[in-house]
């Protein structure tokens, strides 16, 4: 039956995440925006709460690790990979949805702080998506970041130059990685490297590297436009030796299936980044609505926008775009929970949520004038934070490319 409301069973989780956002994150958000690279120690206490939610047996994850575990512990097929698990009777609202919902709430609190929640990194999502049961056990309780981007390879992930060379029971990795979120604070770094540069994207594999590995050197932390509470690291990998058992997924180079293994992670992480954008958009809209109400401006959903004030009309439009982004995100998560292939839907959610969170948060600064632009309120910070959400895990343009290639059934050599 068609119904687009959040199921009751997730309400306690949402409430808890909302409390975390409002009571823990809002009060410290500005502090860590100003103190870039300082570790938000308040989050250590919080991670206990988050882990508690994860382990509560309710099947509701609180962060990125919750995504994609629905196909069962023994299945290598991640959700969204197109491989169907056993037919289940009825519809599932599972961990992809609960993760999306709780991420929306914590990012309504703060995106940078959410990214700094221990053990909730995107690397954890990658591990959850493609690791074997043995690997999952080994990495359990560790905080994993994701290292894909290189100075000369951003959106074009297939162009990465980092290499991994088999040497006995080990791989030896050499290269340079940038924009590693939580790279300084994590325990593990999931590194993308090529087994053979001449074989293109099919040769790209992901490796789990211990942060303490002597071959892994932290070069610097970036100074950024926003999400300053989250550390963004640059690494050098120099003869970095990792055991072969730390390769994620299939060790063979299969030119026919190509990039699949590495790329399918995105089917799970993109809805989560979309959820971050939805949460930030909600924060901006909630505060702006409150501040405008104090000025006597309230949008009436029943009256045409054109008979209301320009500010009210703008709010109506921003709320409508928010709704579209929110529902596209829940749909992508719902599909993942129900083992429906969701690459296109994940990209649609990411594209819509990314553009909406930039347009809305920027628009809120405009509506609020000095109050929006100044540092007394968090609006200007959210407008800076939000921009990254239209960039990482695939820029707006990459999402449009993914969607178009799929809808038009064109290859990457046809539609470049």
């Amino acid at each position: 039956m068609i119904d687009l409301e959040v199921p009751k069973k997730f309400i306690p989780l949402i409430k808890q995440a909302r409390t975390v956002a409002e009571e823990v994150m809002w009060p410290i958000a500005r502090k860590y925006d100003l103190a870039e690279h300082a570790y938000p120690t308040e989050l250590d206490l919080l991670s206990g709460v988050i882990d508690g939610l994860d382990d509560s047996g309710t099947g509701t994850g609180a962060g990125a690790t919750g995504a994609s575990q629905t196909t069962g512990e023994d299945s290598l097929a991640s959700v969204g990979s197109g491989r169907k698990t056993e037919e289940k009777s009825g519809v599932r609202n599972g961990t992809n949805m609960s993760s999306a919902l709780s991420i929306m709430e914590t990012c309504r609190g703060d995106v940078g702080l959410t990214l700094s929640l221990p053990r909730q990194g995107l690397g954890n999502a990658a591990i959850a998506a493609v690791a074997t049961p043995e690997q999952k056990k080994r990495y359990d309780g560790k905080w994993a970041s994701m290292a894909i981007t290189e100075p000369e390879a951003g959106s074009d992930a297939a162009a990465i130059r980092t290499t991994a060379t088999k040497d006995g029971d080990d791989y030896v990795i050499n290269g340079e990685k940038i924009y590693v979120t939580a790279g300084e604070r994590c325990d593990l770094v999931v590194v993308w490297a090529s087994l053979d540069l001449s074989l293109g994207r099919a040769a790209i594999k992901s490796f789990v590297v211990e942060r303490s590995n002597p071959g892994l050197t932290l070069e610097r932390l970036e100074h950024k436009l926003g999400i300053r509470a989250s550390d963004t690291a640059a690494f050098r990998l120099e003869n970095c030796r990792v055991p072969a058992t730390d390769l994620l997924g299939d060790p063979e180079i299969r030119t026919e299936t190509g990039f699949g293994g590495a790329m399918q992670t995105f089917d799970n992480t993109r809805p989560m980044v979309a959820a971050m954008a939805v949460g930030l958009t909600r924060a901006a809209l909630d505060l702006t609505t409150k501040l405008l109400k104090a000025e006597g401006v309230e949008a009436d959903p029943d009256r045409p926008a054109h008979v209301q004030s320009a500010a009210a009309a703008r709010l109506l439009q921003m709320e409508a775009d928010y709704e579209a982004a929110y529902l596209l995100t829940l749909r992508a998560a719902w599909m993942a929970d129900n083992a429906k292939p969701n690459s296109v839907e994940a990209s649609m959610a990411k594209a819509k949520a990314g553009r909406t969170c930039v347009n809305v948060s920027f628009g809120c600064v405009e509506l609020l004038g000095a109050t929006g632009y100044g540092e007394r309120e968090l609006i200007e910070k959210w407008a800076r934070d939000g921009k990254i959400l239209d960039i990482f895990e695939g820029t707006q343009q990459i999402q449009l490319l993914v969607i178009a290639r799929r809808l038009l059934e064109l290859s990457s050599s046809q539609l470049r």
């Binding site: 009825g90 029943d302 596209l328 290639r405």
Partner: protein, 442 residues
């Protein structure tokens, strides 16, 4: 518990689908084997009786005094507990039936209907087999709804509008009146007006809310009704009314005692004039202007409350949003093969990001509009407040729906501008879907 719930709902829905399909099954265009199979499966598992046979045709609405029984209302669907985008079996069948009608009948007739500003008798005959006018009328009043479902209506309108928005709206316009009287009418109004809609030749009827003035606000209509004794005297004008010169019955909105209300007005009332009011799009509805000058109707014709009027305004907007989804999907379905085929600079134009990204944008905004429309409808079916969600769907139709219409012409260049393709019609129709008030009701 959920399973029990689902089963019982499906069972109660059976009657609805059965009635629909008993009618649909006889439709020549519905001889498609897939649809057929589903119909048979459905009929097999159903134990319900067939639909009530039509009563004798009459176009005069004899006033019926209530027999002491309260008015009948279509039941609202029971609350569901899961986020789910899967239509019920019944809804899928109604969708399929409506899609068949849309592709086999409405699409081929679209250009002519747009040009002639009317739905041909042939199309009307085929469509009436589906019993669309009864989609919101309860079972016991001869309708086909055991559960009133805005979601079902939204899916039906979307499917029809995929064929052609103009004819879809024209065909669903009488349903808006039947649904309004079912939902808001008292027992006397229901007994007086609804039987006509269950006849083979259901009357043409229109929900007239829009007015000519710029910045029209349906909550502040300029059409007024003055109550004096047992009579309401109506003055004003209603714009872009569906089939204004052919309808036998109107539900119009007017400001009465400071509140916007709905009033039933029969065609032929003294002082009620119509004139043609053609518009840029949705032309098949044969739009006309209603001029009301001292039109007197019994006070008993006041339909529902001020809250009901607001409900009708909202549900109409949702109907238009559903129509926008259908037309926008039609555009996307045509654009995808077109841009892959059309060559420029030695390769398909789809190979260019400027073109391909436009396709992506259309798809993204279309899906956002669709989901927002469905959410609003599902909230209505749950009995939850849907005012905000309807506003979202409306706003998305206003902006992105119209933008999709514009893209649909742009991607074809000059070919989009001439009537060789339906794109210029989608452009005109999609503009209307975010602008027009009333006419539809889900």
């Amino acid at each position: 518990m959920q399973d029990l719930n689902r089963t019982s709902i499906a069972d109660r829905g059976t009657a609805f689908g059965l009635r629909m399909l008993t009618k649909a099954g006889g439709l020549p265009v519905l001889q498609n084997s897939d649809t057929r199979k589903r119909v048979e499966k459905f009929l097999y598992r159903s134990t319900k009786e067939g639909f009530r046979s039509a009563t004798v045709a009459t176009k005069t609405f004899n006033k019926v005094t209530p027999n002491g029984k309260g008015p009948s209302r279509p039941a609202t669907a029971k609350p569901k507990v899961q986020f789910d985008l899967t239509p019920s079996d019944d809804q899928q069948m109604i969708q399929e039936a409506a899609r068949e009608l849309a592709s086999a009948v409405l699409r081929p007739a679209a250009e002519k209907a747009d040009h002639d500003r009317k739905v041909s008798d042939e199309v009307k005959a085929q469509a009436s087999e589906l019993g669309l006018a009864l989609i919101g009328v309860p079972d016991e009043l001869g309708g086909i709804a055991e559960e009133r479902s805005a979601v079902t209506a939204v899916l039906a309108i979307e499917a029809l509008a995929h064929g052609d928005m103009g004819q879809a709206v024209a065909l669903m316009a009488p349903a808006a009146v039947a649904t309004a009287i079912s939902n808001y009418g008292d027992a006397g109004q229901q007994a007086t007006y609804l039987p006509a809609f269950t006849e083979d030749e259901a009357p043409s009827a229109a929900l007239a809310i829009h007015e000519p003035q710029p910045l029209f606000d349906p909550l502040a209509p300029r059409t007024t009704g003055k109550i004096s004794g047992d009579t309401i005297t109506l003055d004003g004008a209603k714009a872009l009314v569906a089939d204004a010169d052919g309808a036998a019955l109107f539900v119009i909105s007017a400001l009465i005692d400071g509140e916007a209300r709905l009033v039933i007005v029969e065609a032929g009332a003294e002082g009620l004039l119509t004139e043609p009011d053609p518009a840029m799009g949705v032309r098949a509805i044969n739009a006309g202007r209603l001029i009301l000058t001292g039109v007197k109707v019994p006070k008993a014709n006041l339909l529902g409350t001020a809250e009901d009027h607001l409900d009708a305004v909202r549900r109409a907007r949702l109907g238009w949003a559903a129509a926008a989804v259908g037309a926008a999907q039609a555009a996307l379905d045509q654009l995808i093969p077109y841009v892959k085929e059309r060559q420029a600079f030695g390769e398909p134009i789809a190979y260019r990001q400027a073109v391909a990204f436009t396709i992506s944008d259309i798809a993204i905004e279309l899906e956002g509009l669709r989901l927002a429309t469905l959410r609003a409808a599902s909230r209505l079916d749950r009995g939850l407040d849907a005012s905000k969600q309807i506003s979202h769907a409306r706003q998305l139709a206003v902006t992105h729906g119209a933008q999709i219409g514009s893209h649909a012409v742009q991607l074809l260049g000059g070919h989009g501008y001439v009537k060789e393709y339906p794109n210029e019609r989608w452009y005109r129709d999609l503009r209307g879907a975010g602008v027009l008030e009333g006419t539809l009701l889900v």
